[in-house]
């Protein structure tokens, strides 16, 4: 019996240094390097932007805007951060710009009445609920809070790296995560009550 397995061919073996070299070549306006970088980052950016803006129809446009900035500004990359941090920072700024254009509010740093008692985690049902309702619950967060959640859990960034991407202090990242967690739990709890 053949079982479905993750496709190992999907792995992209470009090292951090390799990415920096690629970006240097983009700075020298080498189009094939830009195409390689685009191919490398498109899946990641699609996921990140989808998570932040929650408007699938706009993701492609923001992704293109992001990569256009990468093309134009590659020469400003100073090698003090990782290429991924630099590109994600551009994508984040572009997503906020797009949200402004679309008339979306940007920042909700308060708990907004979501300070409910936390459900216990040791209920087997809770994981099922989380899986089922996570996407809806993420929709109740602000774009900034979603960005922190995505960057932490999907992309596995450290708090300081997220601060660099979002151009804010580390404490702000912690605060956004703090309220994001509260809101997620409140949202999941309210969905459970509604069932």
């Amino acid at each position: 019996m053949r079982k479905k397995q993750a496709d190992p061919a999907g792995e992209n073996g470009v090292s951090i240094d390799g990415e920096a070299v690629l970006l240097d070549r983009v700075a020298a306006e080498e189009k094939d390097a830009f195409e390689a970088l685009y191919r490398l980052y498109r899946p990641r950016l699609q996921r990140f932007l989808s998570g932040v803006i929650k408007q699938p129809a706009s993701v492609g446009e923001i992704l293109d805007d992001t990569m256009m900035v990468v093309w134009r500004k590659a020469y400003t990359f100073n090698h003090r951060s990782k290429v991924s941090t630099w590109i994600f920072a551009i994508a984040y700024r572009q997503s906020l710009k797009a949200l402004r254009r679309l008339g979306e509010p940007e920042v909700f740093e308060t708990s907004e009445g979501s300070d409910v008692s936390m459900p216990g985690p040791d209920d087997a049902l809770q994981h099922q609920e989380l899986r089922k309702h996570l996407d809806d619950a993420l929709g109740t967060l602000s774009p900034e809070q979603r960005a922190v959640i995505e960057l932490t859990y999907y992309f596995g960034y450290a708090c300081s790296e997220i601060a660099a991407i979002m151009a804010c202090p580390v404490d702000t990242v912690k605060t956004r995560m703090f309220y994001a967690r509260r809101k997620l739990k409140a949202s999941l709890a309210s969905r459970r009550e509604a069932i």
Partner: protein
């Protein structure tokens, strides 16, 4: 003195709580991690929170797998942490639950496999009659239960396949594809997130 201690303990808890998400994703600095683990060992509230955050992380990790986000596409430390990361003591029960869930999942796969075998046994005459006629290869396919009819139709269209049997009680279908398209179709089906299993029906009879 007492007041100062209470205040200190309070701030340690608050700071530990705020750092928990990055403890779970394995990106804390060593000194932060050691401090947090010391607090975690004696704080039931943080243990519960860590367990909840671990579930959240696991859900995102599953999404990443479904998205074919390879370790290289993600943050290298994230992968290392997921593989080896120190786990809070309070998580042992959750891990056991997940182990049981894994066992249940494997059982489900076994039941599905049994369904495929039974299906093959039931449909063996059809295969032997049709295969030599060059009408195409037969594939046994199990779709994800959440797959909609429209998604299934789209898969059939894009893979140039036709459902010629099923579903069985275990949700298994039999598909016919042109002989020359068989390998490509099987590969495409395997790559689809809606497909859980693909089995060549002819392979059992003609090893």
């Amino acid at each position: 003195m007492n007041g100062r201690i209470i205040k200190f303990e309070g701030s340690v808890h608050a700071e530990a709580d705020r750092l928990l998400p990055w403890y779970i994703n394995g990106t804390l600095e060593e000194d932060e991690r050691v401090q947090l683990e010391q607090h975690l060992a004696e704080c039931a509230q943080c243990q519960r929170e860590a367990a909840w955050l671990r579930m959240l992380q696991e859900d995102f990790a599953e999404q990443a797998q479904q998205d074919d986000a390879s370790p290289q596409r993600r943050h290298p430390r994230h992968h290392a942490a997921t593989r080896s990361g120190a786990r809070p003591a309070g998580l042992t029960r959750k891990r056991r639950e997940r182990w049981l869930a894994w066992l249940a999942a494997m059982q489900a796969v076994a039941i599905l496999a049994l369904g495929v075998i039974m299906f093959r046994a039931q449909h063996a005459p059809y295969r032997t009659l049709s295969a030599p006629g060059g009408k195409g290869a037969l594939l046994v396919v199990a779709f994800d239960p959440r797959t909609t009819e429209a998604q299934m139709r789209e898969l059939m269209r894009s893979d140039d396949a036709r459902i010629v049997g099923g579903p069985t009680e275990s949700g298994v279908y039999i598909l016919r594809v042109a002989d020359e398209r068989e390998a490509a179709t099987r590969k495409a089906l395997l790559a689809s997130p809606q497909v859980r299993l693909v089995e060549e029906l002819g392979s059992g009879a003609n090893p």
